[in-house]
Symmetry: C2
Subunit: 343 residues, 2 copies
DNA sequence: GAAAGTTGTGCAAACGTTTGCACTGCGAAC
DNA sequence: GTTCGCAGTGCAAACGTTTGCACAACTTTC
């Protein structure tokens, strides 16, 4: 019993042919109820598990979706993944998950790998492959859905958050509260999300009649550490020129900023207002609760699966753009009087 | 070109036999350098990706590890996963990841599924299968490693956090600071981690000469909401009988407790001390920074892979128990005088 | 009582690989 | 000019399934 039982083992015990076993297990109507029962109990006893490799080989289609993410530790990715899981599970698809550690080369390697496993389609979360790489993307004849990344092509579909709008929303919210000096704490430099949020930030500023100040976008990478650094940068600015509010690339870095502010004795929101992005579960329990722009991460995952399955069914698929709302909580207040006096 | 190119397609173009292609691609020394070159470029041009299903079928062994977790959204699971990823990637193994949504039945189904995919071994994180189910666990002839769960059996190995010790550590820390009324906010009822941490809590109490009070263990489930509820429970207790400190099942629920405390105007640590468990990345940026017991999650994942691979190589494998340390931060202080007066 | 239909089962091919063995040339050794 | 060794390549079997087709044994119909 050193090897996994196969359909042949069952056949031998039951005294029938392998094809009969296959049909019985598949529930074919051409098998008598009696034989089916017998075969099923034998399968149970032998602890039989079908070889999906063999099945895939002959049927040519497998009920698996490949999913690639830069990291599984990111709460945003986790949320997207939940959507993917729920939706694919409902439709009877399994997932083959791989992480690329944020390395574009590994990402391509993972694509190859998953295709080698005969996945029916690919979902790629926050691809780090630079857009100009575009044409160099290996072409497969299975559909690919990018979540929050853009690589146009045949058989390639997109599901995205409206990051530009989100950036605009956050900045406008601050502007409407009376802030005139709003800084932006950035995310991964290459990232499309980062540049789009920055663009929305800029548009909001200019629509309100303020000049866009490149010196007020502080570089970051979406980690809490980036938030800490941003706050220390803020403290170093001469008081009269300090921004009175921060729009942060994501909740994680906003939380880092909050933590550093607490440790440095900077009061939030009295001394500095903060808006995050994502509406991560943590944003609700932060101290004070974080005002943020919602990103419908679960919905992104769900939609990606829907698009992929539609493409598989040869239905027309269009790119999807999801807008989140601003969730006002407790990290935004009117700027101090001194600042208003500035004007 | 509707189908993926196979080794035969390459063979046809190159004017050689499929076996030659297979050998050339595998780097067999029996193929002339010239032919190898030619075949490799053709493979490139055709965008060939080997069918891992077919390869697995004939070789009988696949370089894949199956990983099952109740959820991918839990930061603790994410950390374990990082360890698993790093270690398995280093050894040339891919991962097939499935989540069970915390449902024991799905968990078993996932095991079947992954075995069907011919994974070389299985890693199961925080199994929710009740221990008494034990014998009912399907038996496979591949090694299985449980992380923080216990299902003894042949070919089954374990990697665990010393939860009892961790619970003792947290409680003792509070006791040493002068607390005499320490409550425990629990985790998932069935969970082995929960009961072990509770046992450690109890042992610390009794070793210090205090009676274990069942009414002071408040039920929870590891979510922030559970922490919120716990704080509201605390507020309802008559002041003279209130615990002065909380040991929480995990950081997530401790963070929820902190947040509710902030909203209710309860000062941490002045009014109430709190110790968490996990040392999640968030614990460092919480306000105030959370005192917690470290759980070497990454290391758990790493060890699990090591054990699995050792078992695959038929080396002797023993169960591993990892101890974390107490990380003192800022949520623990001496109890108020009134409480000390109580004694 | 023969033809036709029905029901249950088996045969064999196919999927894309890997691999033991056999084969073909060719140069070297006797 | 045989024999041997060797480098390079091809043949065919095998892995565990699924599935179109054929077949056998009954039952029904005329």
């Amino acid at each position: 019993m050193t090897h996994r039982p196969s359909i042949k083992d069952i056949a031998r015990v039951a005294g029938v042919s392998p094809s009969t076993v296959s049909r019985a297990l598949a529930g074919s109507p051409r098998i008598s109820e009696q034989t089916r029962q017998r075969i099923q109990t034998i399968a149970q006893e032998l602890n039989y598990t079908p070889s999906l490799a063999a099945r895939t080989l002959v049927t040519g289609a497998s009920p698996m979706l490949g999913v690639i993410a830069p990291s599984l530790a990111d709460p945003y990715v986790a949320a997207v993944m939940q959507g993917v899981e729920a939706a694919s599970h409902d439709r009877g698809f399994q997932r083959l998950v791989a992480s690329s550690q944020g390395d574009p080369e590994q990402e391509v390697a993972m694509m190859q790998l998953l295709v080698g496993h005969d996945v029916a389609g690919l979902i790629i979360i926050s691809s780090r492959i630079p857009p100009e790489h575009g044409a160099g993307l290996p072409r497969f004849d299975i559909p690919v859905v990018f979540i929050n990344a853009f690589h146009p092509g045949e058989g390639i579909y997109h599901v995205m958050t409206d990051n530009e709008h989100g950036g605009w929303l956050a900045t406008t919210h601050l502007l409407e509260r009376g802030h005139t000096r709003v800084a932006y704490l950035g995310g991964p430099q290459q990232g499309r999300s980062h540049t789009a949020r920055l663009a929305g930030y800029r548009r909001a500023l200019e629509e309100a009649g303020y000049a866009y100040q490149p010196s007020w976008v502080v570089p970051g990478d979406g980690t809490p550490q980036a938030g800490r650094k941003a706050l220390r940068w803020w403290l170093r600015q001469p008081e009269s020129q300090r921004p009175t509010a921060f729009f942060c690339y994501n909740d994680l870095s906003a939380l880092g900023l909050l933590s550093e502010a607490y440790q440095q004795g900077v009061a939030i929101p009295e001394d500095l207002s903060v808006v995050g992005f994502d509406n991560a579960p943590l944003a609700e329990i932060s101290i004070p609760p974080l005002t943020t722009v919602e990103q419908k991460a679960r919905e992104l995952g769900r939609q990606a699966v829907a698009s992929l399955l539609a493409a598989l069914a040869s239905k027309p698929v269009t790119d999807v753009i999801l807008r989140g709302e601003l969730i006002p909580r407790a990290t935004v207040a009117a700027p101090r009087v001194s600042v208003i006096r500035d004007q």
